[in-house]
């Protein structure tokens, strides 16, 4: 008569070790690549490419970010605005908040302009002019980094 081992109950348990290893590796990956920066990006805007567009050495203090789509719409503080006059009024509100609650002068505040590559240059200039009227002076024209030479030639 054949004697069965005592501990064999017939239940087969899978080995979870490889799965847990994989999970830990995934967590390690996400922890390394996670980005908590509050960089304002908008998928509606395709930035123009430039090989010289490098991230700023230090983050700007309380910057204002204005997006311009190729349909001539402005995006500011999460709102899509179709008229420049509305953007001006929103910027005016922002300047009042800045002046009331911070000690910064408006000419020290950086205005980041994220304009679509197919947007009109004239509209970018109109945004800058509207900001200048409110005493902003510093502008950061944003582009996407390019590995290839964008100005042509060799």
């Amino acid at each position: 008569m054949r004697i069965r081992p005592k501990g064999d109950t017939g239940i087969v348990e899978g080995d979870l070790t490889p799965m847990i290893d994989m999970t830990f590796q995934l967590i390690a990956f996400f922890m390394l690549v996670i980005n908590f920066s509050d960089a304002e990006q908008d998928q509606r805007v395709r930035l123009p490419a430039s090989e010289l567009a490098k991230p700023p050495a230090a983050p700007y203090e309380q910057p204002l970010t204005i997006h311009l789509t190729k349909n001539d719409h402005f995006i500011y503080a999460g709102q899509e605005l179709t008229e420049l006059a509305r953007l001006k009024s929103e910027l005016l509100k922002e300047t009042q908040i800045l002046l009331r609650h911070t000690s910064k002068k408006l000419d020290e505040v950086t205005v980041i302009i994220r304009a679509d590559q197919d947007a009109k240059v004239g509209l970018v200039q109109e945004i800058m002019q509207a900001c200048q009227e409110l005493k902003f002076e510093k502008f950061a024209l944003r582009g996407k980094q390019s590995e290839i030479r964008t100005i042509g030639g060799s």
């Binding site: 490098k54 590559q117 240059v121 004239g122 970018v124 002019q129 002076e137 582009g143 964008t150 100005i151």
Partner: protein, 144 residues
């Protein structure tokens, strides 16, 4: 422990966002009234004109009165600016100022190309060298 590990994994997956690398060109442009009162610089202002077709494409590039024709007008513009500044891979000019006068309906990519051509270049090692640091747009003409 496995439950918590999975919860962590789910948290990281949901908070993960792809941030594309972006960079800035910094320009300082005081309002017209302030800039008019500033003292005139000894170095003459260089003016780059970007003319557009009715569809917003680039029609031609001018540096001063010289029209830059050919295949790569921005590369030519870059060559001329580099010849004027004479950088020899050293620091850029802090005095020279360039004003870009672009047609209203020109696509922004071309203005960015002009700024790239004017402000600097990357050498073979990928190191950035500056040419002209002071770039501004010309004021918009008054509305008709």
């Amino acid at each position: 422990m496995i439950d918590i590990v999975f919860q962590l994994l789910v948290f990281f997956v949901f908070t993960f966002k792809i941030v594309l690398p972006e960079g800035d060109f910094n320009i300082r442009m005081p309002s017209a009234s302030v800039s008019r009162t500033s003292l005139p610089s000894e170095i003459p202002l260089l003016r780059v004109r970007l003319r557009a077709t009715p569809t917003g494409e680039l029609a031609r590039v001018q540096l001063g009165d010289v029209t830059l024709d050919g295949e790569a007008p921005f590369a030519q513009l870059h060559g001329k600016i580099r010849g004027m500044i004479g950088d020899a891979a050293g620091p850029g000019s802090t005095e020279q100022e360039v004003e870009i006068e672009a047609d209203y309906n020109l696509k922004y990519q071309y203005a960015m190309n002009a700024i790239t051509a004017i402000t600097g270049y990357l050498d073979d090692n990928g190191e950035q060298h500056k040419l002209v640091e002071r770039v501004r747009f010309s004021p918009l003409p008054d509305a008709p």
